[in-house]
């Protein structure tokens, strides 16, 4: 392709596109925006986005957040101290025992499932994989058809 052709083409198409007038926006846009704003305005201040809160409310909420964070850090530090930890250890031991029982149950169930799977023939897994692949392909096909239809509309 000759560079002259490209330059002329760029200029010609550019002129055509820049000469296009603006499209008329449908009335519904303004109506929808105003209606959404009215709905938002009807919400109590604390249910609106944080950016829209008054400076005082922002300052208070930020202070509370910082205080909570500091408090949690302080509690964490205190808990990590040996004396408190010694008192807490039996309690943690109880929790771990409950977890241990749950873990044992899960292990038994997993073992049973594994045993059942070993008894099944490999054909079963191949059929399962085929069904999975076909379902995926069907989803993609339906999605593509719907996408094309929506573009036509």
């Amino acid at each position: 392709m000759k560079p002259d052709h490209e330059k002329q083409l760029e200029q010609a198409i550019g002129e055509k596109l820049r000469a296009l007038p603006e499209l008329s926006a449908p009335r519904e846009i303004a109506l929808r925006v105003m209606s959404t704003l009215a709905t938002r305005a009807a919400l109590p201040w604390y249910r609106r986005s944080w950016q829209t809160w008054s400076p005082a409310a922002k300052a208070v909420s930020l202070s509370l957040l910082l205080a909570s964070f500091s408090g949690l850090s302080f509690v964490g530090w205190k808990v990590s101290e040996a004396d408190t930890l010694t008192k807490l250890l039996p309690q943690i031991g109880d929790w771990l025992e409950t977890l241990n029982v749950i873990w044992n149950t899960v292990q038994v169930l997993a073992g049973a499932a594994l045993l059942a799977l070993r008894k099944l023939s490999p054909n079963f897994f191949i059929v399962c994989a085929l069904i999975g692949a076909l379902t995926y392909a069907a989803c993609i096909g339906v999605g593509t058809v719907l996408f094309r239809q929506s573009k036509k509309i």
Partner: protein, 174 residues
């Protein structure tokens, strides 16, 4: 005049520009309306700054463009990928349909309508960089950064888009 009324006036001043920007990038009426709505909801949050700003139009256009590009990458990429995959060569049916529409419209609303329709009939891969180049004034490099594709692809897509428009609009070059 209340703030809501002032915003309504502001919106009416810019809604055609915002809707046109979205429509030319998305080529879909319903999606362009959704994007325009989102742009103005964002604008309301900054209305104090935008109200008397001489750059309000530029801000709105940039936000509209970015929202359209986000929309295209988020909702369309996977389906358009498969649409392109199953497409074999040029879409003759679409081409015939397009020529029919242009012929009908030529007698009604003239050449600009033809250009508008030809632009919207382009595939997104050609239309989006073409609009960003000619209507938003971005450079090839800026477009490649915005779209996350190589500069070579941007140049090729823009060239193909221009060629398609030239054929469809029967533009003769010297």
């Amino acid at each position: 005049m209340t703030e809501a009324q002032q915003f309504e006036v502001f919106m009416r001043n810019y809604q055609d520009m915002v809707f046109s920007t979205a429509m030319r990038l998305l080529a879909n009426h319903a999606e362009a309306e959704d994007v325009a709505q989102e742009v103005f909801l964002k604008a309301f949050e900054r209305f104090d700054q935008l109200r008397d700003s001489p750059t309000a139009g530029g801000w709105l256009k940039t936000v509209a463009t970015n929202l359209c590009l986000n929309h295209l990458s988020r909702y369309r990429s996977r389906w358009s990928f498969f649409s392109e995959l199953f497409k074999s060569g040029p879409d003759d049916a679409a081409e015939t349909e397009f020529i029919g529409t242009v012929e009908a419209s030529a007698s009604e609303s003239g050449r600009q309508e033809e250009v508008e329709q030809a632009l919207q009939a382009l595939p997104p891969a050609q239309r989006v960089p073409l609009v960003l180049f000619h209507l938003d004034g971005l450079t090839y490099e800026e477009i490649s950064q915005k779209l996350g594709v190589s500069m070579g692809k941007v140049k090729t897509d823009i060239f193909r888009g221009r060629e398609t428009l030239r054929k469809r609009l029967k533009i003769h070059l010297e």
